[in-house]
Symmetry: C2
Subunit: 127 residues, 2 copies
DNA sequence: CCGGAATATACATGTCAAGGTATATAAGAA
DNA sequence: TTCTTATATACCTTGACATGTATATTCCGG
């Protein structure tokens, strides 16, 4: 149970988190909305709490759980490098499709420089 | 192995993905950089490929793996509602602390009407 | 064709966490 | 007190993977 991704891997936990987006909820409310046995809810909430995804306050016998932002921001941060990649990907796709045009229409002059999307490494020139 | 989060839960898989951000890599290159036994690399790559995180092309005996954007975008999409939450969180916290200011009673025991600090939602009107 | 390199797959093993059931703790209400 | 509600925890079983080892496949060069 190391990373935030371990926590999010569990579907029921993701369901709980989604529930808590709208507002804080008691254990019983979560239990009813997700139709999930109460010990299971409590157990998942414990995991979520220890991972910093939620926090709770006491209201008589109830515990009200609400979201905490930090772990989500951590996921967001992890995603950042890939976000750069996928926005750049549209350009690459564009170039790709450009080279992909129907061969029947015109002669392929691919022999001109053979520019590959390879990033510089030369595929054929091994050894 | 249902969701993208299951895939990302594995640290070695995340490491592989991070490697591939810079450029496509062969299995051997990944193996060396991550100091990980080759069958393990291949197996994780298979999982990543079947989940749509990577794709491969053949280069002689090598397979070159590169990232595909869709699953990352899926994670990003899942994160969206929470992103709204955590940017709004500062305001909410502010208001919360404002109400929390102890004029007389720091007691959170609801002694009277049992009005829950639920934010004004009439959730109890069911049944 | 043979040998070796690069990668994939098959099989066996162990670990860990999710789910279920039962019980414990805690806080009203009567 | 005793009963009831709300939540937490303890124990157990089971199944899913991750890992390691061994082997299969594929490709190239000689």
């Amino acid at each position: 149970m190391e990373s935030v991704f371990d926590i999010l891997a569990e579907p029921n936990r993701r369901a709980i988190l989604s529930l808590l987006v709208s507002s804080q909820q008691s254990v019983g409310e979560i239990e009813r909305q997700l139709r999930m046995p109460q010990p299971m809810v409590s157990k998942h909430l414990r995991v979520l709490r220890e991972a910093g995804f939620v926090e709770s306050t006491v209201d008589a016998q109830r515990r009200l759980y609400r979201l905490k932002p930090e772990p989500f921001q951590e996921v967001d941060a992890w995603l950042a490098p890939f976000r750069r990649f996928w926005s750049a990907h549209l350009d690459a796709l564009e170039r790709h499709l450009d080279r992909m045009d129907p061969p029947t229409a015109s002669k392929q002059k691919t022999k001109k420089k053979t520019r590959r999307p390879n990033g510089g490494r030369d595929k054929g020139a091994k050894k």
